[in-house]
């Protein structure tokens, strides 16, 4: 119903190369080690295991390529996520929008931690799936971005009846970590992210 035709076209075609490579890696791992229920969930921590490929060198060598990450690139990473209800992407549904993505640089010269803030716009104000969509966006970015990015996903103010509660959940690392160990929920998330390749 909210179909924004202007946004429908450019989104899916433009995923940047780097995040896609990472994503393929994680899919492979998942297929290799799929014995038990929880093995399926280990890709959750892919963003953690990446730096161990080269613990010390990753900092410097990554930095050059990482500087390039801008709002458009973040948009490309998440706009192709499928809506859990509709066979459409979050970009085409205007759930994620480029102007609602902000990258905040490190607050101190001693720190290299940047913050990505994504405000999502649920299609309807009482959409019960807002949390799941937000979780999908957070998982996608945490998997695709280097660990120096903190990912803050929020529901855009005034677009959802319980936006404060949803935001609090999405911001709670412990709840997110536990959710990612929940097989059913991860199944939904995986399906949403399957279109991101």
């Amino acid at each position: 119903m909210d179909l924004d035709k202007d946004n429908a076209n450019p989104t899916i075609i433009n995923p940047s190369d780097l995040p896609c490579r990472r994503r393929e890696c994680s899919v492979k791992k998942r297929e290799d080690g799929s014995t038990g229920l929880f093995d399926n969930l280990t890709p959750t921590y892919n963003y953690l295991s990446d730096p161990f490929d080269g613990p010390d060198s990753s900092g410097d060598s990554d930095d050059d390529s990482v500087e390039d990450i801008d709002e458009q690139e973040i948009y490309d990473l998440i706009s192709s996520i499928s809506d859990p209800e509709h066979p459409l992407s979050l970009g085409s549904l205007a759930v994620v929008n480029l102007p609602d993505i902000h990258i905040i640089p490190p607050t101190s010269p001693h720190s290299s931690i940047s913050t990505v803030v994504v405000e999502i716009t649920p299609t309807i104000t009482h959409c019960s799936l807002a949390t799941v969509i937000g979780l999908g966006v957070r998982v996608r970015l945490e998997q695709a971005l280097p660990p120096r990015f903190r990912v803050d996903v929020r529901v855009k103010k005034g677009t959802h009846s319980t936006d404060t509660a949803v935001n609090k959940q999405l911001g709670d690392k412990e709840r997110v970590a536990a959710a990612l160990e929940n097989g059913t929920l991860m199944g939904v998330i995986r399906k949403m992210l399957a279109t991101c390749e």
Partner: protein, 436 residues
């Protein structure tokens, strides 16, 4: 001598990274009450036990949990064996034991010599499982006497377990005061008082009253999830800056007396990026109430409520959520860490000379609590050390103090800071005092 406010007076120096690290997130570490060991709760469902002498892995506690181990706690006061409680996202808590007889003396020598991990006797033995919570256990903690174990969960409840005998644990209380996830539980060092911190932004205190555990106080003040709660050590006024009693003004001497009547204080940290100190308002008739056993139980129940007020907010140095704080039992220093990767060190001191009304803390107290004791904060907290990127770009989930036990120890009471991060690493830090 009066250094400018918040001038750093320590540096936090890296001493070691415990090896090998976990390949995924580590949540929390607990130093052993008597041995030079630290147990680390890992998201790979294991607990790693490292030596604080050699900084290497000595045991891996595996096979007990189906999901992340979120929290670990050593039972205090056990002779001849180590007892470890583990709490997991799988909603269960595990009790593990290891015979330590004869190992205390040459423990580290043995460990350094070889990997005897295959010997069954040498491992931590799974002893029993505590089932009851409906969802993820977030924190657990033994009471100082070892009599009680408290657990808390996303199911909004706090459980108190008592070990009757031989791994027979009885649930002595299920406390359901919180409206949301309970993030952390901690025990008072002197009295059987339990504190819990929650996603509902409050802290609650509980105590046993005529066989029933009841809430005795609710602490409001934080604007976001309260992630950690910890009591001050016992008798700190003889160890920290308060130990120097000569030439104190009457005002300060009076303040010390009030503080001592309050007993150990409470520290909390939150997603609102603040660390707050709470203090019990001394009861005028405290001694009467507890000594006179002839008072009917109804009246005692009425008296059991305690009045805790916010005494101070520490200087705000964190940019993001603060996950953990720890209050040194030796020096009274507070250390904090969180999502921004920083480790910050705070020290309390007498407020510098003229109380010129600059302190913001005074206003933060609720008006109805405004009495002489909290109206005039005679002490202040300053930042004495700040470390960036303690775990590189990763979040620091936990920080705590431990006794230093490696060869480089500079004095008997020297402490180290142990930090636990999203990078799977547990790091050990020393404090160097800056000479000016």
């Amino acid at each position: 001598m009066t250094s400018p406010l918040e001038a750093p007076s320590y540096t936090i120096q890296p001493l070691a990274t415990l090896s090998p690290p976990s390949s995924s997130r580590t949540w929390q570490s607990a130093p052993h009450p008597s041995l030079p060991l630290v147990a680390t709760a890992c998201s790979d469902r294991n607990v790693r036990v490292y030596s604080l002498t050699s900084f290497t892995l000595v045991h891996t506690v595996t096979g007990g949990h189906k999901r992340s181990v979120r929290t670990v706690s050593w039972k205090p006061g056990v002779k001849g064996q180590s007892v470890l409680a583990t709490g997991s996202f799988d909603a269960s808590a595990g009790i593990w034991r290891r015979d330590e007889r004869g190992l205390e003396d040459d423990f580290t020598a043995q460990k350094q010599r070889g990997d005897d991990d295959e010997e069954e006797d040498d491992d931590y033995q799974f002893s029993c499982i505590l089932d009851g919570h409906d969802s993820e256990i977030k924190s657990l903690s033994w009471s100082p006497s070892g009599q009680y174990l408290a657990t808390c969960s996303r199911d909004k409840s706090v459980w108190i377990w008592e070990e009757l005998e031989d791994d027979n644990f009885e649930t002595v209380a299920v406390l359901q005061e919180h409206d949301q996830d309970v993030k952390c539980v901690a025990w008072h060092p002197e009295e059987d008082i339990l504190a819990s911190a929650s996603y509902d932004e409050t802290v609650r205190l509980y105590k046993e009253d005529a066989d029933d555990w009841v809430q005795i106080a609710q602490l409001n003040g934080h604007d976001e999830t309260v992630w950690w709660v910890e009591f001050e050590g016992s008798g700190m006024s003889t160890k920290d800056f308060r130990a120097q009693r000569e030439n104190l003004s009457q005002e300060r001497a009076q303040h010390l007396e009030l503080l001592e009547r309050s007993g150990p204080r409470l520290a909390t940290c939150s997603d609102d990026r603040t660390i707050r100190i709470w203090r019990r308002k001394p009861k005028e008739n405290r001694q009467y109430a507890s000594q006179n056993t002839g008072i009917p139980s109804i009246i005692r129940s009425f008296n059991i409520d305690e009045d805790w007020f916010q005494e101070a907010i520490l200087p705000q140095r964190h940019d993001r959520v603060i996950y953990s704080i720890s209050w040194s039992r030796k020096t009274g220093l507070i250390v904090s860490a969180g999502s921004d990767g920083k480790i910050i060190l705070y020290k309390e001191r007498w407020e510098s000379q003229v109380p010129n009304g600059v302190k913001a803390d005074g206003d933060a107290n609720a008006p109805e609590d405004a009495e002489e004791s909290q109206r005039t904060p005679l002490t202040e907290w300053i930042v004495v050390a700040e470390l960036f990127s303690a775990h590189g770009v990763f979040e620091v989930n936990h920080v705590c103090w431990a006794k230093r036990n490696d060869k480089g120890r500079r004095h008997e009471d020297e402490e180290i800071i142990v930090s636990t991060g999203d990078d799977g690493e547990v790091k050990v830090w020393t404090l160097d005092e800056l000479k000016t």
